[in-house]
Symmetry: C2
Subunit: 405 residues, 2 copies
């Protein structure tokens, strides 16, 4: 297959690119490298030393003899170039990672909110409009988030995209129907993924586009089979307060002997998946496209759930780190249940890598190995969800550790 | 009150502006005049001769002694100027009309799809982000559309925004919940209003913004009490295939002795409201804002429903025009039911003007009076919803009249 990988220079995109190239597909990355610019803006860098995309592609060729083609292109701003590219290359499949993906970054300031909405909505919509216009029949696989569900607000197990509900009809009798799960995004970033869902629904219905939306949990882990092939193929590892997810920040805190900082009670339950499984799921989704005219296919791409404080204890147990409780900069419930259905990928043959299996390797092979590159100042999460919360967090004397357990 | 009217130069915005100014409010129009540019792009013009916004404001002052303040500003592209304006003027209420509002225009070409999404989503989101940032506590009243409901797909009467459903909970028992009505927009334009709904939900929940969303039917009629005060205060009247709604086009076809062109079987049911009632509803909504922290208040702003072919017969009966059936350029069901709840405005005191009362006046006072200004070539609807439909419509020999009844 010829596969276009939008955002293929990113954390999930890069190992996906390598894996699909290794499988013999003709792989093209389209990326505007905005994520690297954001590193520059924030003054942060990947824990793992990361080469330029051009250099990575050259090394891949050296190691495997295979070519990855890189095209510098902004999906959100360069509609005409995107369309021309699709018309020329006519990919069989398109994997769409090309969005601003950090919730804290999306809440940092009004400028960041405006950027995130503008970038993500236009990237997705431009892609859809260009697919219709060029009349290519590519399967579009998009990376969405578990966050569109709003963490189980309806009090039922979270189904894979569609919720069965009962409605009182005009004729009086009740009728059962499947609807898109009522979305309740908790940040501007998550909201853009809710907007994407509606774009997909429309274009699948109006134009028969074949679309798969993967509602992904938090991706953890660094290495995959292919990134291990050469040290300069290593994946990025974000640990800063904006892009570093909760687990990565715990690993880094443990590595530098800093207490693991838990926000609020740590009772928030999150869904997780290992990067190797994420890549595998994308491949599975590619192999099982919806038919033309079928509704959007939705998978929950996650393999386990944990409360944040339980994660902290897991890392503490393995490393001897302490745990500290801080005020939560996010607007969310202190404690939430999260029961998620994920039978579809299991049925397709996914065999998950669990945190209890893989975490020690992350601690030794990644966090400790690169500990000398850690910039301690970058670890705290500082983006507050509202002005009120910002003040409250600020008042907390020097954001001091409230209790060390 | 100090009221900002975003898009106040438009068809609904202008009479709303006059009405609120007449009531003694301090009224500011913010508009980028994009609608006037689109007239230029399409080579069409309002049936009624329409002065510049500056001239209209001058005449209003001459006639009433009141001032309407006009600010040329693009909500979608000029975030910083918008924010500065809000910070300086701190309006008590904001009425948001400033979106590209024609479904056929939004489906005209990929460029028009991209423009509509970009313009509408950014206009709404910029406004919300700027309201949060400036910490003004204005009540935001937005004009949405009945089209977000997708014309009754769930088979129940269309409630005012929120649908009560029954869900099987984790504990096993069923629970009743109110959710945002599952949206099924039928065009890119309507889709942007579905996106708006999610933006509103998020900002009401995260930041406590006070928001009212009016799900409006097709607005008909031209004059209001205030536009009648001077001939140069007259409202715009669109009759072209993109901006002219079905009723306006029937009126114009009747006035020039052309058959009333019905798409498909004409079994599509649509919701309607007179422009005077629309203005009145907006005023009623202004007087009844939600509390801070309350969910978005949603009203169905429509007063009656009709099938398109019944409308055609109504106009034919009054004018003697013929009716012709043409292939439908839209992708939609041939026939649909539409039962809509609109108790909330009736409870607030709305007394609707019905089509059977007001239609004759439109025929005589508007369509016939300005018939000499009609450009016949502009009446047909040409924007097709998909490439397939475009071909089918095209094949129809010279888009000839299929049957004249
Ligand atoms: N990492 C996670 O834990 C996680 C969890 C759930 C969902 N996701 C989703 O998976 C996708 C990939 O995530 P990631 O962690 O690899 O993110 P990332 O930020 O590392 O990668 C995204 C890539 O897209 C590019 N990009 C952004 N906007 C673009 C535009 N307008 N035009 C072209 N390229 C653009 C960036 O430069 C970057 O290389 C995202 O859509 C994200 O929302 C990620
Ligand atoms: N007319 C109807 O039948 C109808 C029905 C349902 C809902 N609505 C909604 O009511 C609102 C008003 O409708 P209308 O018929 O008056 O439309 P209109 O096109 O006549 O008016 C919209 C106004 O907004 C302005 N505008 C558009 N984008 C802007 C931007 N980015 N920045 C600043 N100004 C911008 C335009 O210049 C125009 O003056 C729209 O949001 C529409 O979707 C209208």
């Amino acid at each position: 297959m010829r596969i276009a990988i939008m955002g293929g220079d990113g954390f999930v995109g890069w190992p996906t690119t390598l894996h699909l190239s290794n499988r013999g597909h003709e792989v093209h990355i389209l990326d505007n490298l905005s994520r690297r610019w954001i590193d520059t803006e924030l003054g942060v860098q990947s824990l793992t030393p990361m080469d330029s995309i051009q250099e990575r592609c050259r090394i891949w060729h050296e190691v495997t003899g295979r070519r990855i083609h890189f095209h510098l292109l902004d999906l959100a701003k360069e509609y005409e170039r995107l369309k021309a590219w699709l018309a020329e290359y006519r990919p069989d499949a398109i994997i769409h990672f090309a969005e601003q993906r950090a919730a804290p970054y999306s809440m940092k300031s009004d400028r960041h909110k405006v950027y995130t909405v503008n970038n993500n909505v236009n990237a997705t919509h431009n892609l859809l409009a260009a697919m219709v216009e060029t009349e290519i029949d590519a399967h579009l696989v998009h990376l969405g988030t578990m966050g569109v569900y709003g963490y189980g607000t309806v009090g039922a197990a979270i189904p894979e995209g569609y919720l069965e509900v009962q409605i009182d009809t005009l004729e009086g009798g009740p009728a059962r129907q499947e609807i898109l799960y009522p979305t309740r995004p908790g940040s501007v970033y998550h909201m853009t993924k809710s907007l994407d869902q509606i774009l997909f629904q429309f274009y699948a219905q109006n134009d028969g586009l074949r679309i798969t939306d993967l509602h992904q949990g938090i991706v953890w882990g660094t290495h995959t089979a292919e990134t291990r092939l050469h040290v300069q193929l290593i994946n990025r590892f974000d640990y800063d307060g904006d892009y570093g997810t909760v687990l990565n920040r715990f690993l880094i805190q443990a590595a530098i002997g800093y207490p693991l900082t838990v926000h609020g009670t740590g009772g928030q339950t999150r869904a997780f998946i290992h990067i190797q499984d994420s890549v595998r799921c994308i491949e599975l989704a590619l192999s099982d496209p919806p038919a033309r005219g079928e509704r959007v296919k939705i998978f929950n791409q996650m393999t386990e759930t944990h409360r944040v404080r339980d994660l902290a204890h897991m890392v503490a147990d393995m490393t001897g780190a302490e745990i500290a409780y801080l005020p939560n900069p996010r607007k969310e419930a202190d404690e939430n249940e999260l029961v998620v259905e994920n039978e579809k990928f299991l049925a397709l043959g996914l065999e998950p890598i669990t945190l209890s299996q893989g975490l020690m390797e992350e601690i030794v092979d990644v966090a400790r190995k690169y500990a000398h590159r850690i910039d301690r100042k970058r670890v705290p999460a500082v983006s507050a969800w509202t002005k009120e919360i910002a003040q409250r967090v600020e008042r907390d004397p020097e954001r001091r550790l409230k209790s060390v357990s």
